[in-house]
C-alpha cells in the first residue's frame, strides 16, 4: 500500500493532479491511499514551495505544476 499525499490549497491543477494519481494507480493496479493536504500551514511544513506537490510514502517527489503522467507511473511503480 502506497501512501500518497497531494499538497495544494485547492487550485484546479491540484485537483487534476489528485485525479491523475488515482487514475494511474488504477491502471497499474497499485494499491494506494491518496490524501489531499489543503491546509496552508501543513503544506509549508512539508517543504512544498509551489503547488501542487506530491509525496509518496513520506518522500516529496514533485512540486510545482501538473506532473507528467509517465512520472506519476514511475513514482507509483518504484
Amino acid at each position: 500500500m502506497k501512501d500518497v499525499k497531494v499538497y495544494g490549497p485547492g487550485c484546479k491543477r491540484c485537483q487534476a493532479t489528485e485525479t491523475m494519481v488515482r487514475e494511474v494507480a488504477a491502471e497499474l493496479g497499485v494499491d494506494v491511499r491518496v490524501e489531499k493536504v489543503t491546509d496552508i500551514v501543513a503544506i509549508a511544513k512539508a517543504g512544498v514551495m509551489s503547488t501542487p506537490g506530491v509525496s509518496v510514502d513520506g518522500r516529496l517527489v514533485h512540486s510545482g505544476g501538473l506532473p507528467d503522467r509517465s512520472r506519476v507511473a514511475g513514482w507509483l511503480a518504484a
Binding site: C11, I40, I43, A44, G47, M49, S50, T51, S63, G64
Partner: protein, 353 residues
C-alpha cells in the same frame, strides 16, 4: 553500421520530432502574422460600415489588434514556459540564500520574472523563502516583481503601445520591486510575521522534488504548451474585452475630457490612479488595451503607468491571501512602500514627458 532514425534512442528521436514540429509552427506563425493587417482591412471592407467613420476605425482597430496581440502572446508565453522549466522556486531559494541584501534584492526581482510562479502558491513560496533564512525584504522583492513584470504585460505593451514604453515599464517595475524590498528589509519587520510562520524551519527536503534540471527537452516543450493553454484560457476573454473597450475609447471618447482628467497638469491624477487601481483586480491582459487607448487620447504617461502598476502589483485578493502569513500592519507597510514607489514613477514621468 548505417545510422537510421530507428537506431537513434527514442528520447533523441522524440526531441527531434518536437523541435522540427516547433520550427514548422514558427514559420507558419511568421507567415500568418505578416498578413494580419491585410486581413483586418478585408474584414472591415466586407462589413456594411464606412471605413472612414468612427465605427469603421474602431472595428479596424479591433480586428487587427485582437489577432496581433493573441499571436504575440502565444509566441512569448510558449517560449517563457520553456525557459521557466529551467528555473524553480527551490533553485531560486538556493541562489538567494546567504547573499548580501541589495545584491539579493536585485537578484530576487530578476528571478521573480523567470521563476514559475502562481499566485495560488504565493503563501507556501513566501514561507519557503522566509523559513530558509532569506530576509523579508528580499522575499518581497521577489513577490512584487513576479506578478508585476511578466511576459503578458510586456507583450501587450510592445504590441499595443510600442517597445519604448514596454522597456520603461520593465525597468521601473524591477526598480520598484528592488527598492520596495530594500526599504522593507531596512525596517527589520521580521517580528511582524504571523507567529506560526516564525516557528517553521523548513529543511531542504524539497530538493528531491525539483525536476528543473532533469527534464528532457520534449518535457520542457510540453511545459511550454501547458502554460500556453493555461494562460490563454485565462486571458483571452480579457484581451478581447480590453481591446473592444480600447476600440470604443479610440472611436468615441473626446480627447479634451481625457486630457482634463488624466493629463499631466492634473497632479492629483497620479494618486487617484493608484487608489483606483487597488480594488481593481484584473491581470495585465485586461488593463493594457485600456492603457493604450488612454495614452492615445492624451492621458499622461506617468498617470497611466501608475494606474497600470497599481492594478497589477497591488491587488486586494492577493493581500487577503498574504494575510495568512503577514500581520495587518506588515501588509499596510507593504502597500505603503509599494504605492510610494508607484507614485514616484508616476510623478517622475509626468514631469519628464
Amino acid at each position: 553500421m548505417s545510422v537510421t532514425t530507428q537506431d537513434l534512442p527514442s528520447a533523441r528521436r522524440s526531441a527531434l520530432v518536437w523541435t522540427s514540429g516547433i520550427a514548422v509552427a514558427a514559420v507558419l506563425w511568421w507567415v500568418v502574422y505578416h498578413r494580419l493587417s491585410a486581413a483586418a482591412d478585408w474584414i472591415v471592407a466586407q462589413l456594411p460600415v464606412d471605413p472612414a467613420s468612427h465605427t469603421g476605425a474602431a472595428l479596424a482597430f479591433f480586428f487587427y489588434d485582437v489577432p496581433k496581440v493573441m499571436m504575440l502572446l502565444a509566441l512569448i508565453v510558449f517560449a517563457m514556459g520553456v525557459v521557466r522549466s529551467y528555473f524553480s522556486p527551490e533553485k531560486t531559494r538556493a541562489l538567494l540564500s546567504g547573499r548580501r541584501e541589495g545584491v539579493a534584492n536585485t537578484m530576487a526581482a530578476g528571478l521573480g520574472v523567470l521563476t514559475p510562479f502562481c499566485s495560488c502558491s504565493a503563501v507556501s513560496l513566501f514561507i519557503g523563502f522566509v523559513s530558509a533564512g532569506i530576509p523579508l525584504g528580499v522575499t518581497f522583492s521577489f513577490l512584487i516583481a513576479a506578478p508585476m513584470v511578466n511576459e503578458v504585460a510586456l507583450i501587450l505593451l510592445v504590441g499595443l503601445v510600442g517597445w519604448p514604453i514596454a522597456l520603461i515599464y520593465l525597468g521601473f517595475g524591477l526598480a520598484i520591486a528592488i527598492g520596495a524590498g530594500w526599504v522593507i528589509g531596512r525596517m527589520h519587520l521580521e517580528g511582524w510575521l504571523q507567529d506560526w510562520v516564525r516557528e517553521i524551519h523548513s529543511g531542504g527536503n524539497a530538493s528531491g522534488a525539483d525536476d528543473s534540471t532533469s527534464l528532457t527537452l520534449p518535457e520542457r516543450y510540453r511545459k511550454g504548451l501547458d502554460s500556453l493553454r493555461e494562460i490563454f484560457g485565462k486571458v483571452w476573454l480579457w484581451i478581447v474585452l480590453g481591446i473592444a473597450m480600447g476600440a470604443a475609447i479610440h472611436g468615441y471618447v473626446p480627447q479634451s475630457l481625457m486630457e482634463r482628467i488624466m493629463g499631466a497638469d492634473a497632479w492629483w491624477s497620479v494618486p487617484a490612479a493608484v487608489v483606483l487601481g487597488v480594488p481593481m483586480y484584473t491581470n495585465a491582459a485586461g488593463v493594457i488595451p485600456i492603457v493604450e487607448a488612454l495614452l492615445g487620447k492624451g492621458a499622461a504617461l506617468g498617470t497611466v503607468l501608475a494606474f497600470m502598476m497599481s492594478v497589477i502589483a497591488l491587488s486586494l485578493p492577493e493581500m487577503i491571501i498574504l494575510r495568512q502569513v503577514l500581520t495587518l500592519r506588515l501588509i499596510v507597510v507593504f502597500i505603503g512602500v509599494v504605492a510610494s514607489g508607484i507614485l514616484a514613477v508616476g510623478f517622475l514621468f509626468n514631469a519628464l514627458f
